[in-house]
């Protein structure tokens, strides 16, 4: 348990504190892990084979201390993984990431596609909100019980998706009209700041990874 806990502190929480996103990070991480975490907990605590130390018994199932131990261990690992992913999303701007990838030689087309797909999500949401407003103005019920809401989604999804598809042709022409299909590198307007401390942090991460793998290979198993 020491391993995941140390990682959670050093690799996830400390950087999150530096970036002032601890609160958001916790929320995102919990939301991400909740479904898997629930099943991990139930299955391990109740069905751990060879569990002896009985915590409680309810009908045919028996909860054991060994099962609980394993569940906590797995949960911690899950939290570290999803925490690290959430940290990445909370602290990295799509534009900076793709600009930097492009600077490092990734094809401009690929960078564009990656960037456009990330940035199109908020645009789609805004569009959906506008359509919901419009449909509501025409008397559509988007509130109320789950069934009513599900029915309300249909007239919204249609226009959003069809709108997006219909736009593709015009977007293609507009992109062509701006020289998008030219082969070769693009001029980069700006370079994301790469401070010495960031560079050092990146090397530190690589070094730590190598060290951990080596320790594992040499038979080191933190409890």
């Amino acid at each position: 348990m020491v391993g995941p806990l140390a990682l959670a502190g050093l690799v996830v929480l400390l950087p999150a504190a530096v970036a002032r996103v601890v609160r958001k990070l916790l929320r995102a991480t919990l939301l991400l892990t909740l479904p898997v975490a629930t099943s991990v907990l139930v299955i391990n605590v109740l069905f751990f084979p060879g569990g002896r130390d009985v915590l409680f018994q309810a009908g045919p199932v028996t909860a054991t201390r060994e099962g609980l131990g394993l569940a906590i261990e797995v949960l911690l690992r899950l939290l570290v993984i999803s925490g690290a992913i959430s940290l990445f999303y909370l602290t990295t701007s799509a534009a900076e990431l793709t600009t930097d990838l492009e600077r490092r030689g990734v094809s401009p087309r690929l960078a564009f596609v990656a960037n456009a797909s990330v940035q199109s999500v908020p645009a789609m949401l805004e569009r959906a909100a506008a359509i919901i407003e419009a449909q509501r103005a025409r008397g559509l019920d988007t509130e109320g019980g789950p069934l009513a809401r599900a029915r309300g989604i249909v007239p919204i999804v249609g226009p959003v998706i069809l709108g997006a598809i219909g736009e593709v042709e015009q977007r293609t022409l507009a992109l062509e009209a701006r020289g998008f299909s030219r082969p070769g590198p693009r001029t980069l307007l700006w370079h994301p700041a790469d401070r010495p401390i960031e560079r050092a942090a990146r090397w530190l991460i690589v070094a730590a990874l190598v060290a951990l793998l080596a320790a594992r290979a040499l038979g080191w198993h933190p409890a």
């Binding site: 534009a95 793709t98 401009p108 564009f112 960037n115 456009a116 940035q119 199109s120 645009a123 805004e126 736009e167 015009q170 977007r171 293609t172 022409l173 507009a174 992109l175 062509e176 009209a177 701006r178 020289g179 998008f180 299909s181 030219r182 070769g184 590198p185 693009r186 001029t187 980069l188 307007l189």
Partner: protein, 264 residues
Amino acid sequence: MLTFESVTYRHAGGVRPAIDDVSLELGEGEVVGLVGGNGSGKSTLCLIAAGLAPRIVGGTLSGRILIDGEDIAPMPMHELVARVAIGFDDPWTQLSGVTGTVYEEVAFGPANLGMPRDELVSRVDAALSSLAIEQLAARDPAHLSGGQQQLVAIAGLLAMGPRHIVLDEPTAQLDPSGTSLVANAIERLASEGASVLVVEHKTDLIARVAKRLVVLAGGTIVMEGAAAELLADPRLRDLGVREPSAVRLRRRLVEAGLDPVALA
């Protein structure tokens, strides 16, 4: 100078040509209005002028299109965009969708051309100032009014350095204030010496910005001449072209038995 030499164009799968034997000249620093009923071929003509048809959209073309005397047929799209630009009606789909500021959005086109960064910056600055939208530079393009977005889109075209600009219904989706922003922009472009071909159903705008008018019907030019006179021609209404409000007012007065000259 942009020249059409008896151009005929057929869409892929089109039964009859959408553009039929059109010859046309857009002079240096000239603003030409292009009008015609629905389906008369205005958009198709724009796509041809910008080289998108047949290059990107397919179809077959005969005749020649020349820019400053040079045939555009062998030019690749990315070379052509630096000589003739095309703007469309929908401000939203013209935005790249990957930029967070107007400045970056305007830089998108010239950045694709791979010019040195210093030149890119001076091009963007020049484009923003020729449309008088420097104050929008740091704004998010997604959160501008339609009219402002349309100016950003046009600035993005200007920054690629073309001397010829084709605009297909640039104000179709704009309210009156957006329309007047774009009209001002077209006047500015012309005063700086660009040649502009502008398609519009809003003939008030054409009357304001264009000296010369070309009327399309069924893919051919059926009338051509000074915009002020042609726009008053009663035959335009039969071709599906709206009359400018001044012309309509005058006609109504006459129909009501009043004398516009005496009233003025």
